[in-house]
Point group: D2
């Protein structure tokens, strides 16, 4: 789990250093992407080369989670609430009976959405 | 917080659809990066254009968190443990007395690390 | 521009080190994301803090481009061809007369696509 | 290659829509990361599931390249110059005689840099 005690420790870490002013939602969104890529780097050349050691992977995952916690704080949202809300929406999009045992069924729903998503290009 | 109940709901969602076999650490690392970028997209053209609406931002953050929870599960780690472990390490790297009120002090520590980090190019 | 001479230099760099076997399209896709995040890191705390210096930004952009060149090679495609092909498709999606002077017109087309894109969650 | 003609077509596309004001280096850096993740999504569940079709992969790679071209323009740099400059620097970091046939040699150089890079956490 992620306890309220952990969340408070992160708040204290930030406040002690007077770093709150940098933690805008936009900057935290950038930070989450940056740390996610450092986690991805642990698997950059797999399977042709091995993954990074476990300790390093755990540290990079911790970094992503820490910035996510900071962002939930900046947005004033409860993480359980937003996760469970989205999970319900996703469960409806991918009903068990439709997608279980059928990658094709998942894929057609996914590709249909992707095709529409490709409209969003070179926007300004 | 992120409760054990939420974590179990995510496990159930995955198991119902028989999707565990896709959730390798490497695939989950890719998924975290992919969702992080969808969250970043909410702020793509800021400040010249407005950010996405709050509901959408929350849904994208929920997606990142959900994949992080799946990855912690796949790695068999407790999220409180890895977060608090990394926070202690980071607190040592950026002592309060050194970095508070001094972006320059933070920046020199950060850049020194970055310069070294630039050795890691085009590796295979 | 990116000349054929530059592309050949990158091929030589890879071949000299016997690194072709790691340069699968999947690994190169990961690499492009990893380097893109290092470029993004140059702007992590803007505008509250300054961006990285110009030289560093250029080096990170060069890294992204280099991996893109390697990927085009791995896919056996010509970069001019794929760019111009996609540009034509995008020009149709965002006709000048519709989007010029109207962020709202762009935004509605973009959001409509995004809403559909949100179907693609937690897939395996 | 990427010809000057292609680069000019991209400039025209942007100018026709009056979109230059959104194309700041910071926004373009975000855009490159966002498109890189859409390319990565083509390989999200590999190898357990197949990659996206070739046409889709090429379109996503085209998107990354297009934003890179826009960013080089915004920075006022020539892509051949910055790529060749960085390639020379990287060739020195990974001498052929050291890294060829020795993943261990590459890995130790890479990990040494990575360890230093881990200092850059939770900065503001």
């Amino acid at each position: 789990m992620i306890s309220d005690s952990t969340i408070q420790s992160i708040r204290n870490f930030t406040a002690e250093r007077d770093w709150e002013r940098f933690h805008t939602p936009a900057n935290l969104a950038k930070s989450i992407s940056i740390e996610a890529a450092e986690l991805l780097e642990c698997y950059q050349w797999m399977p042709e080369a091995p993954a990074s050691d476990t300790r390093h992977v755990q540290e990079e995952l911790a970094d992503v989670l820490t910035y996510c916690i900071m962002m939930a704080d900046a947005l004033g949202v409860d993480m359980d609430d937003i996760i469970m809300g989205k999970l319900a929406k996703t469960a409806n999009k991918y009903p068990v009976e439709a997608v279980r045992d059928s990658f094709g069924e998942y894929e057609s729903r996914h590709l249909a959405a992707r095709e529409s998503g490709e409209n969003a290009q070179y926007h300004s």
